[in-house]
């Protein structure tokens, strides 16, 4: 069985089902296949104990799940665990690495589609990008991407459409008015649910494969500061965007133009730094503050 998917702007023929993405009938540019990933590898330039990357290849070993070899032709997967988990984890770093090899700028975080365009919420793990995206969905925005956002800066900037919902921890889903019990967890022992989908599992807002980026909000968790939003100059914006690249060391190796892409994006769209104090008492204030800045982007765009 093979399925075709449009994954963050690139088309793949896949031997593995990818939860959260809808199969398409588009012709595939790349292939996700099962196979043996042992054998000769390129000399690694960077890595950890369970991964490595060279200019045109990445290798990711997840004990008990799978080994993934990412190359220009796609992704070869040596499965060791259940095929569902192999597919679930493939949607993260292996897919992001494949998109980087294709030239995309891949920012860590989530995105929603709102009136002025795609609002990207980028930041390190745990700072609350998905939570903010979930909050914006509650104000009428549509889910656009989660886990990471792939952006094409040479023809845009255009943000490619990602999975069809946003994953939230149970406690945050409940705090934002969703019912965690109404959906099953993304995996056993991982208390996250997907919000933003329609009941039939299709996207709440079917539409084009990519859309113009209206603004990037770089989210930082701040213990001391209250929720605050600050617009950045081009240099500061470039530095912040670089810090948000999905798996920075891997991006710097696989994507030769990652520095130039960050600089272009900083010139193309307004970039804001968000100091996020995500306490329940400040949540409404945070959403209102964020929406004010989204509104300012909309107004500037209209002018």
């Amino acid at each position: 069985m093979t399925l075709s998917y449009e994954l963050h702007g690139s088309s793949y023929r896949s031997a593995i089902a990818l939860p959260g993405y809808q199969p398409t009938d588009l012709p595939a540019e790349r292939c996700i296949e099962l196979g043996d990933v042992a054998g000769e590898r390129r000399a690694a330039k960077v890595g950890g104990r369970l991964w490595s990357a060279s200019d045109d290849e990445a290798f990711i070993d997840v004990p008990g799940v799978a080994a993934y070899r990412v190359h220009r032709g796609g992704i070869t997967v040596q499965a060791r665990g259940s095929i569902e988990r192999v597919g679930a984890l493939l949607r993260g770093t292996p897919l992001a690495a494949s998109l980087m090899l294709g030239g995309a700028t891949v920012l860590r975080g989530a995105a929603v589609l709102a009136d002025p365009g795609v609002i990207v919420l980028a930041g390190a793990p745990g700072v609350g990008t998905s939570s903010l995206a979930g909050a914006l969905i509650g104000t009428g925005a549509a889910p656009w991407s989660d886990r990471f956002v792939a952006i094409e800066t040479r023809r845009g900037p255009l943000a490619a459409r990602g999975p069809d919902g946003i994953e939230l921890w149970h406690d945050m889903a409940a705090a934002l008015g969703h019912d965690p019990a109404a959906a099953s967890d993304v995996a056993p022992g991982i208390p996250k649910v997907v919000v933003g989908r329609t009941p039939c599992g299709e996207s709440a807002s079917p539409g084009p494969a990519s859309a113009a980026v209206a603004a990037v909000f770089v989210v930082q968790r701040s213990i001391a500061a209250a929720f605050a939003v600050e617009r950045l100059g081009a240099l500061a914006a470039t530095m912040e965007l670089l810090s948000c690249h999905y798996h920075g060391p891997m991006a710097a190796t696989l994507c030769a133009d990652h520095l130039g892409a960050a600089a272009r994006l900083a010139q193309q769209v307004p970039v804001f730094r968000v100091s996020s104090l995500w306490a329940a008492s400040s949540r409404q204030h945070a959403i209102e503050t964020l929406m004010e800045h989204v509104g300012s982007v909309r107004t500037a765009g209209a002018a």
Partner: protein, 294 residues
């Protein structure tokens, strides 16, 4: 090809500092910090941080978001990282852990002899219950229920804890058994009560176990700078990042026998009924006392 690693020091031997929570792990870390350093103990820079409970550090090694891993998958990753990072005969890197040393779906243990060695700190479960109750601000009935729960997990993930990875804890007795009964790796068991009774003697045992060249003066200096009242004072002056918001202070009491006086008869009975074999093995009496052998 070997490439630079980011989270776990290269070319060191692993020593796990393992315990059920609130059993004296941090005190042992302070003693080792003083013994290996200049004698000064900086609470926020102790030997033996729990690197593999830190999502950022684990991700640097595996390149996938560890919050997307199930508990079984996460422990398979940890097992592989412990094994790959261990260099026998090299200086030690200490790794604090509260995880039960369980058998994973792959059939391997979380840590075994290929991963290094371990110091296991054990404390009377009655005193653990009282200390743990203050630490996470829940009542004693609930703490006792957790200590009996073989499915207990420490730091269950949520939006507020997404950089702290969960660890399988299991019940107190399963936890002790996993590290101390037919241990999967060379393990030194240190009772908290023995540390209280003669800290220098126990630290000397630890030093011998690790093959550290520690003089009597160095041992005495480390014991002095790691006295409980000094750690309390340091916490008051500089704060301690490990203190949860739920706790008034990390170094609260430190004494032994408090559980025997504080726990209800019913809760003591619940613990003894489930733990009596392991309590007996380590000299923990049903009245809350501990047999100290000089």
């Amino acid at each position: 090809m070997t490439v630079p690693s980011m989270a776990i020091a290269a070319d060191t031997a692993n020593c796990l500092l393992a315990s059920y929570p609130k059993s004296g792990n941090t005190w042992v870390r302070a003693l080792l910090t003083a013994l290996r350093g200049t004698g000064h103990v900086d609470l926020n820079d102790l030997e033996g941080t729990n690197r593999l409970a830190n999502a950022t550090l684990v991700e640097a090694e595996v390149a996938v978001d560890p919050t997307e891993l199930t508990l079984d998958e996460l422990d398979e990753v940890r097992a592989e990282l412990y094994r790959r990072s261990h260099r026998p005969g090299s200086p030690y890197t200490f790794h604090k852990t509260h995880a039960v040393n369980r058998t994973l779906p792959s059939g391997r243990r979380l840590v075994d002899e290929r991963c290094g060695r371990a110091i296991y700190v054990i404390r009377h479960p009655f005193d653990v219950a009282v200390s743990y109750s203050h630490f996470i601000a829940v009542d004693l009935d609930e703490i006792v229920t957790q200590m009996l729960n073989v499915h207990a997990v420490l730091d269950r993930p949520s939006s507020r804890r997404s950089n702290v990875l969960p660890e399988c804890l299991s019940s107190w007795t399963e936890h002790v058994a996993s590290w101390c009964v037919e241990p999967a790796l060379p393990t030194l068991v240190v009772r908290y009560e023995d540390l209280l009774a003669d800290t220098a003697q126990q630290l000397a045992r630890i030093a011998r176990f690790l093959g550290l060249d520690a003089t009597d003066a160095a041992i005495a200096g480390a014991v002095e700078s790691s006295r409980f009242d000094r750690l309390q004072q340091a916490e008051a002056e500089t704060g301690f990042a490990m203190k949860p918001a739920t706790a008034e202070r990390f170094f609260r009491s430190g004494v032994r026998g408090e559980g025997g006086r504080t726990l209800s008869r019913d809760n003591r009975a619940r613990l003894v009924a489930a733990f009596h074999q392991m309590m007996d093995r380590y000299g923990f009496a049903p009245n809350g006392d501990t047999v100290i052998i000089k």
